[in-house]
């Protein structure tokens, strides 16, 4: 019998509860989530639905800032408010209901309007990891956007009106190590085998194999062998063009002994590998751009571990000519020993490169006078493994966008297929609210006059931007006045799910966030993302 194993941490109650999401962002992602503090401005249906999808996976704490009282209309579209709450502070009622969702999460509220809060406690909003605002008036949005921009705190601004939704992310800089790309090509570096790999691969003479041995050899070994043959016949060059790759594929196919009639699975795999795995190992452009970034070159005491590790990576690339190897192999049909010995070679190489990067990073960090634990081994390991998928995101300030006379929005307006017109309508809607203190079409007998008023405001915006006022059709203006500020629960819930996940991306530093404006049209069930 095996010895009784110590109770694994994976069997703790918390791990079991969060099991389905831990498989997506790991224990390290969960730890960041559990340490996070989120602020929601305005507990609209959209707002509470966003918090719901953050409280359930277990953020650390939330605070709701909302000066409104619960109305009957709130109850009609907000699941976290019911009849018994009518007349109560909306912030308080929503906080209490949301806290029932997860006993691991703390929550509190401020029964006041965000502009008052900003006036009384200047740095109040600087105490959170992410600020999320819904139904925020433009006159509050402007100063808050500026403040959070200079404090480099991620800010998500959302709005849901009728069948229309909008999410805007403002963040100065955001770095991601694990982007979780969908299709990763294997990192084999067959064009530059290190000595121990070369020694291993060259001691196998694939061409003299009998049927049984043929079936045991991994595709990588086969590929390496015939690649050498190709190179010796082609002036030592790798196959680059389609025709050259075809030639290599045919060499592999033609190795089939005449007594066999179908190519074995492992040889088929080797043929498949030709396309993506015999390329020249080089630093991808998007990574080179990061390594040439000013923040990577001019480090300071303030530099984040990400940039310190990038600087270490830069040094390494300069001396080695390539990114550290990922160290994992795809499964290949082969016998256990041949596959595992190859796998171990790749793992060992990755490990030694990781050690080297870690040492360099620690050295750089020390030379900057940072604390001795600024760079952790676990983080360096993660960084090294994902060195080919790093992502740096630099955003734009919302206040600048609103004050610009030639926003990039105008570029998209000429495209009749583009959803950009919704952005213009939303901007018009915000001007309307600021000017008339109501949504266009909020009152049944005001719909037609509001259409005219909104058209005027939108026309003014378009003229300021130097766009033709016909860019927005009357029908579009009419449609948004029909909504009269109505919040449809299912439309809000779509946006809320999206916004919650964007928040999780920002907290965990995994996956790529939106850049930077997302528009959802529930009429046609379509969406678009614009860089504004």
């Amino acid at each position: 019998m095996s010895s009784p194993s110590p109770k694994s941490p994976e069997q703790s109650e918390k791990s079991r509860k969060y099991d389905r999401q831990l498989r997506l962002w790991g224990d390290h992602g969960q730890k960041l989530l559990e340490g996070s503090k989120i602020c929601l401005i305005n507990a609209t249906a959209l707002g509470t639905e966003i918090l719901k999808s953050l409280v359930l996976p277990g953020i650390g704490a939330f605070t709701i800032v909302d000066g409104e009282k619960v109305t009957e209309e709130d109850v009609g579209c907000n699941f976290f408010l019911d009849e018994t709450h009518i007349g109560m502070s909306r912030a308080q009622a929503a906080t209490e209901s949301l806290l029932e969702l997860n006993r691991d999460v703390r929550g509190d509220y401020i029964d006041d309007f965000p502009d008052h809060v900003m006036l009384h406690t200047q740095d109040f909003f600087n105490n959170f990891n992410v600020i999320i605002a819904t139904a925020l008036p433009e006159k509050v949005l402007m100063p808050l956007s500026k403040q959070l921009w200079s404090a480099n705190i991620p800010f998500l601004v959302c709005r849901s009106v009728g069948f229309l939704g909008y999410v805007r992310l403002q963040i100065k800089e955001h770095t991601v190590i694990e982007t979780h790309p969908d299709n990763e090509t294997p990192d084999l570096q067959l064009d530059r085998p290190w000595p121990s790999l070369m020694e291993h691969l060259e001691q196998v003479d694939v061409s003299n194999f009998g049927t049984k041995e043929r079936s045991h050899v991994p595709a990588l070994t086969i590929l390496y062998h015939y690649l050498q043959q190709f190179k010796s016949e082609n002036g030592g060059l790798l196959p680059k063009t389609h025709a050259e790759k075809d030639k290599l594929r045919n060499i592999i196919r033609n190795s089939l002994p005449s007594e066999n009639d179908i190519l074995e699975e492992n040889y088929e795999q080797a043929v498949k590998f030709v396309n993506v795995c015999v390329n020249c190992t080089c630093v991808p452009n998007h990574i080179q751009k990061i390594l040439d970034d000013e923040l990577c070159i001019n480090l300071t005491f303030e530099s984040s571990p990400f940039w310190v590790m990038c600087a270490a990576l830069r040094e390494m690339v300069q001396s080695e000519g390539a990114l550290p190897i990922r160290g994992s192999l795809p499964d290949m049909a082969a016998d256990t020993a041949s596959f595992i010995s190859l796998q171990q070679l790749y793992m060992r190489q990755a490990h030694s490169q990781m050690e080297s990067l870690y040492r360099r990073a620690v050295q750089i960090s020390r030379s900057l006078g940072q604390s001795t634990d600024a760079i952790t081994e676990a983080e360096a390991k993660l960084f090294c493994k994902h060195a080919s998928e790093l992502h740096v995101f630099r955003g734009k300030c919302i206040a600048d966008e609103y004050q610009s006379n030639s926003p990039s929005a105008s570029l998209h307006l000429e495209d009749p297929e583009s959803l950009m017109f919704y952005y213009v309508i939303l901007r018009g809607l915000e001007s309307f609210i600021d000017e008339y203190n109501a949504y266009p079409g909020q009152y049944d007998d005001h719909v037609e006059p509001d259409v005219l008023k909104l058209k005027t405001l939108i026309g003014k915006l378009l003229t300021e931007w130097g766009c033709p006022t016909v860019a927005i059709s009357d029908d579009r203006v009419h449609e948004v006045c029909r909504y009269g500020g109505a919040e449809l629960h299912s439309v809000s819930a779509v946006l809320a799910g999206c916004t919650a996940h964007e928040t999780i991306k920002l907290i965990t530093h995994q996956f790529k966030p939106i850049n930077n404006t997302f528009i959802y049209d529930a009429i046609t069930s379509t969406s678009a993302t614009f860089v504004l």
Binding site: S5, Q11, D19, S53, E73, M332, V491, A493, F518, I523
Partner: protein
Amino acid sequence: MSEHQGVSQKRWGHLRKVLERPGPFSHPDFEPSSEILDFIMTTCKLLVIGAGGLGCELLKDLALMGFKQIHVIDMDTIELSNLNRQFLFRQEDIGSSKAEVAASFINRKVKGCQVTPHFCKIQDYDETFYRQFHLVVCGLDSIVARRWINGMLISLLNYEDGTLDQTSIIPMIDGGTEGFKGHARVILPGVSACIDCTLDLYPPQITYPLCTIANTPRLPEHCIEYVKIIQWPKENPWGSLIDGDDPQHILWIYEKSLERSTQFNIVGVTYRLVQGVVKNIIPAVASTNAVIAAMCATEVFKLATSCCVPLNNYLVFNDVDGIYTYTFEAEKKENCLACSQIPQTLLIQDPEQMKLKNLLDVFCESAAYQMKNPGLTTYINGKNKTLYISTIKNIEEKTRENLTKTLLELGLQDGSEIMVADLTSPNVLSVRLKFASKNVDT
């Protein structure tokens, strides 16, 4: 009375704006009036299938979009690992019926809403049950169950002289998620692409060849499958089948898999991976379920009110890299097993050699059928003959010997009709065999 009405008028003010005012982008049939809200509140009857990740969201979304007559059906009970997203359930509900807890939560929270729970399998009900609904919404994780309800709704269609009676159509809105990916689609049975029309959109489940598992394991998954498939039946530590929810079972498999992986120098066997492989766990998170369910609920609202043209007919969603959606029109398959009126024929290349078990394999493995454990019967000389049925023990024993007989030995001929019954449909599929003609030398 009038005061109460005033309250509800205000409460549903959001919905009233879009239902009682004309809009330039609404469905051509849309006539704004207060009757539409009346219809969805008093008459329109919905069925939600599944009270899990999508189901909980769907019930909330539909209740807040004004629907009051909602039935929900789910055979499962609540587990701890549901609580990270199935927000109608609490720690103390673990072990209770999902449908029942979800229904009573919604009824308590949304005044006036009447959710009726059904703690059972969808297969427990017949046509009379399904016929009562105006729309069916699915939040399922099983393709078999999707195909079954799809088949059920198709069997409710009425054709008169070959023309489909439009009033017999019950639209089906289907949602699905996996991690950060999902889909939402609208199916008008008999009119647009159905689940079986698009079977090729579902990726086949990953299976490992037995010889790899037994002789040349390379991945941690190979070691786990070995313990699951070979070692467990042999040692049978608890004298029972594997129960993925029993931590003792998982721990045993974990320890044995670890032993095997150590023996082969394979790294990466963890408790979490063992659990994932044994239970075939699909990662899931609150946000994706919220998005997909809400998209489905929006489509239900459009179909029930005609306030907009519904999605035509398939949307895919992914928010790993930014937020991506794509809509397209999945095409109806002309000879679809489930929804076409065309009789199915199956070409048999070599009737003298083909054994019944080969025919069974065709039904299970070919992309067009993807059946689970089909039962086959036929008519020979006007008499019903059972060829093979695996699901009933004594019939299985009696018909097992047929498996190794050839089609000719069983008396089947060119043009013979085979009736196929399977989990994937409530309806029996009739397939006509077409024997390939022998090559005639010319």
